[in-house]
């Protein structure tokens, strides 16, 4: 019997998909059985949504474990073709195939608003209104403006020596605020350090920010952690660590805990620079293999301090990497607040439904220096910065879409500016934690060696004070 090449190819593709689907279905069934066993209840068919229906019959033949302890063994097919466990779905070919990275087309970036703030072709306002209300968009806009104003003031405050360190979100306001808006406020957030917009969205006040940046005793960590390393438990925003990418496996662990509890997701922010760290790769792999409900949000802003994206990786950004871990990804114009909101919302719903992680890559641009310790004019031109601020300003884009007049924006900026300056002044007046309290919170209760060290410090400080007092009383009047 003769079959055309294309027919054979189609058969091969169908068989390959059938094997892939059967393995996936078997794993998901096993996983679901375990979650159900853990919770003692059924959790619906969400886990099968990722499997294409036409191959379901094949999937049902695959052995799956009912006890939750036996692993599915679906790559054995006695008498059939041998498939190796490391890539069970791989077909065989006599052609020496080189999978050419350069031939993969770039992943398109999801966008709803063009730079003028108009809906792009093919999108009508009705379909947008179904996804997000005008009121929510206006709230996002206000929050982005507030973030921009606060960043400007606190950046200047560092330059004036009023605080020691700061990081701005210039030109990344939409990426952070619109994504935060699309999350549930109870989702556990693990951030890198340029995500103060998430906190602002969740109700962290200018007072809170200024108290933290001035490291006063009124802020949650009482000055134990450096400026902009925020953390706020009741806002589900985990304390930031300076070491890069360490929060990514934390988010996977938190998502794992949430999965066992059957509630919510974890959201993890990081830059494309952090995606070079080992922890990023391992955490992505962990999340995928362990079915953790986590949304990875990569702010691809083009720079890892001074190193441009072109010197950080050769592949198609960060989104493509997700596929390598068997994880789905979305790439989005990160300066289009509307698109960021819709994409984040979609990704979140999907994660809740499937308990599978996703990666959302937000293409954006770091408008400010890396931090106040950086001078980016050393490695990029002012023309470049000007270009992005002029043509990719996320605030202006959303403002045009919402018909916010320049006068209205200016009035808003003026009002917010006063509020931030007041908050900063009052934080500067606030007391710092007294030295002897530095021993608190090293452990849940203070062990003897710290009690001894605190007592020793107390006596030493007393002696210093006494000596000062003596000097004052004996100095010539």
């Amino acid at each position: 019997m003769y079959h055309s090449k294309s027919y054979l190819k189609n058969v091969r593709v169908l068989l390959t998909r059938a094997v892939q689907d059967s393995v996936r279905i078997a794993y998901r069934a096993a996983f679901r059985a375990q979650v159900e066993k853990h919770h003692g209840r059924r959790i619906g068919n969400a886990y099968q949504q990722g499997c294409s229906g036409s191959y379901a019959a094949v999937g049902q033949q695959a052995r799956c474990c009912s006890s939750g302890t036996e692993r599915p063994v679906s790559w054995f097919s006695p008498g059939g073709e041998v498939h190796f466990p490391g890539a069970v779905a791989a077909p065989y070919t006599h052609k020496l195939v080189v999978e050419e990275a350069a031939k993969l087309l770039p992943i398109p970036a999801f966008r709803l608003l063009n730079n003028n703030g108009e809906l792009v072709d093919g999108v009508d306002s009705k379909s947008v209104e179904e996804k997000v209300s005008g009121a929510v968009l206006r709230k996002i806009y206000d929050c982005m403006v507030a973030l921009n104003v606060m960043d400007s003031i606190l950046f200047s405050a560092q330059r004036q020596g009023r605080i020691s360190f700061y990081l701005t979100s210039f030109c990344e306001e939409a990426a952070v605020v619109a994504s935060a808006a699309a999350l549930d406020n109870h989702d556990e957030v693990f951030a890198q350090y340029r995500e103060q917009g998430v906190l602002l969205w969740r109700g962290y006040t200018y007072d809170d920010f200024c108290q933290q940046c001035c490291s006063t005793r009124k802020e949650p960590a009482r000055g134990h952690q450096m400026p902009v390393h925020y953390g706020r438990k009741d806002m589900h925003f985990h304390t930031i660590s300076s070491t890069l990418a360490t929060q990514i496996p934390h988010a996977v662990g938190a998502a794992y805990a949430l999965k066992l509890d059957g509630k919510g997701i974890a959201a993890c922010y990081f830059g494309e620079g952090a995606a070079s760290e080992g922890d990023f790769h391992a955490a992505m792999n962990f999340a995928s293999t362990l079915d953790c409900p986590v949304l990875f949000i990569c702010r691809n802003n083009g720079y890892a301090i001074s190193t441009p994206a072109t010197e950080q990786f050769r592949g198609d950004g960060i989104a493509r990497r997700a596929c390598g871990y068997g994880m789905d990804a979305i790439r989005c114009d990160g300066n289009d607040a509307l698109a960021v909101y819709v994409a984040t919302n979609y990704a979140r719903d999907r994660i809740v439904a499937t308990s599978r992680p996703m990666l959302l890559e937000l293409l954006t641009y770091r408008g400010g220096h890396h931090s106040t310790s950086d001078d980016s004019s050393q490695y990029r031109s002012l023309e470049e910065i000007d270009y992005f601020m002029r043509y990719a300003d996320p605030i202006a884009r959303l403002g045009r879409f919402l018909n916010v007049s320049p006068a209205e924006e200016q009035a808003m900026r003026k009002r917010e500016r006063t509020l931030v300056l007041d908050a900063l002044s009052s934080a500067e007046q606030e007391e710092k934690e007294p030295p002897l309290d530095m021993f608190l919170d090293v452990y849940s209760s203070m062990p003897p060696h710290l009690i001894r060290q605190r007592e020793s410090l107390r006596l030493s400080l007393e002696r210093i004070e006494q000596a000062k007092a003596n000097r004052a009383s004996t100095s010539p009047k």
Binding site: F190, H224, T243, A282, L290, Y443
Partner: protein, 326 residues
């Protein structure tokens, strides 16, 4: 009621009881599930608690430790198994910068109730990278507790306490002690994490040790007693923080101290213990404190060299006798 258990069984019983007691406790690491752990400590736990609570992870020490930290901050009580504690040096960042410090940098808002356990110490010809004594490296990290068990009895009681503790605990099991057998109570018991144990009361000299070296010390003590001496033996148990009170009480009685450890001499546990006794009980001492440590070399593979690198019971006898004659 007693039953006779190997140390690995006592450890398993501890984890089993704690998992049954508290649904938040879960085990994770490489090969802890279906394989049962490299030293059988988690064997069959997956059949009882399912794969979700006895979680096999891909291999990436820093990341599964990080994952455990995230889970701990979100309400679970993870027990991480390091297949060999030497390899946990790959997780140094997560353990030191995150597990040890997040409670502090968050102003006490997040706790990290985490146990990191596994086989450590010098085994039988496992060579340099498998024979690290990580307690020496980790003792400087603020916020960590470090505990070393030495018998099936204390292994069980201490591991249960470590799992219940609200701080990150590095729990050291010695690779050569897993097959040590002892009769231990069938009834539940929990031991204090922060107390050194006076293993043998004596009056002439205080011998301070921990983990496997306790057994070398006890061999030496038999000979010393036969020769008419009456040494006091202290098992440190808690390597961080050190139970200074028990040490000072003993030294105030014997006025002489010797420390026997498996750490390399430079920067080891003995260095810290010595410094603390000198700082707090100098006037009680009749002679300088002695310490017997492993040599400051990477542990050699060759069996003869490996044994020569370690402190042996005869050397302990000799050192104690020298100290007694001063």
């Amino acid at each position: 009621m007693l039953h006779k258990l190997f140390m690995y069984e006592a450890l398993r019983e501890a984890i089993d009881e704690e998992m049954a007691r508290d649904k938040r406790v879960f085990v994770l690491g490489e090969d802890v599930g279906h394989y049962g752990g490299s030293y059988k400590v988690t064997k069959q736990l997956h059949t009882k608690y399912g794969d979700l609570r006895v979680l096999d992870t891909p291999i990436a020490e820093n990341s599964f430790t990080g994952m455990a930290i995230g889970a701990a901050m979100t309400g679970l009580k993870p027990v991480v198994e390091g297949m060999n504690l030497s390899f946990l040096l790959l997780a140094f960042n997560q353990i030191s910068n995150n597990a040890g410090m997040l409670h502090y940098t968050s102003g006490g808002n997040w706790s990290i109730p985490l146990v990191i356990r596994g086989p450590g110490g010098i085994g039988k010809q496992l060579s340099a990278e498998h024979s690290q004594r990580i307690e020496a490296y980790f003792q400087a990290v603020p916020g960590l507790k470090i505990v070393a068990c030495s018998t099936p009895y204390n292994a069980k009681g201490l591991l249960k306490a470590a799992i219940r503790d609200n701080n990150p605990v590095l729990f050291l099991e010695h690779v050569l002690l897993y097959n040590l057998k002892q009769e231990i109570p069938k009834q539940e018991y929990v031991l204090p994490l922060d107390k050194a144990q006076v293993v043998r009361e004596g009056s002439d000299v205080t011998i301070i040790t921990y983990s496997r070296m306790l057994h070398h010390v006890m061999q030496a003590v038999k000979q010393l007693v036969a020769q008419g001496m009456n040494p006091e033996v202290i098992d440190l148990i808690s390597l961080k923080p050190i139970d200074l009170e028990t040490l000072v009480t003993s030294v105030s009685k014997t006025h002489k101290a010797i420390i026997v450890e498996e750490c390399m001499q430079t920067g080891g546990i003995a260095a810290e213990v010595m410094a603390q006794i000198y700082s707090h009980a100098f006037d009680e001492l009749d002679a300088p404190i002695r310490r017997l440590s492993s040599k400051d070399v990477p542990t050699p593979y060759n069996g003869y060299l490996e044994q020569a690198c370690l402190v042996q019971p005869t050397q302990i006898v000799e050192a104690v006798k020298t100290l007694m004659s001063t």
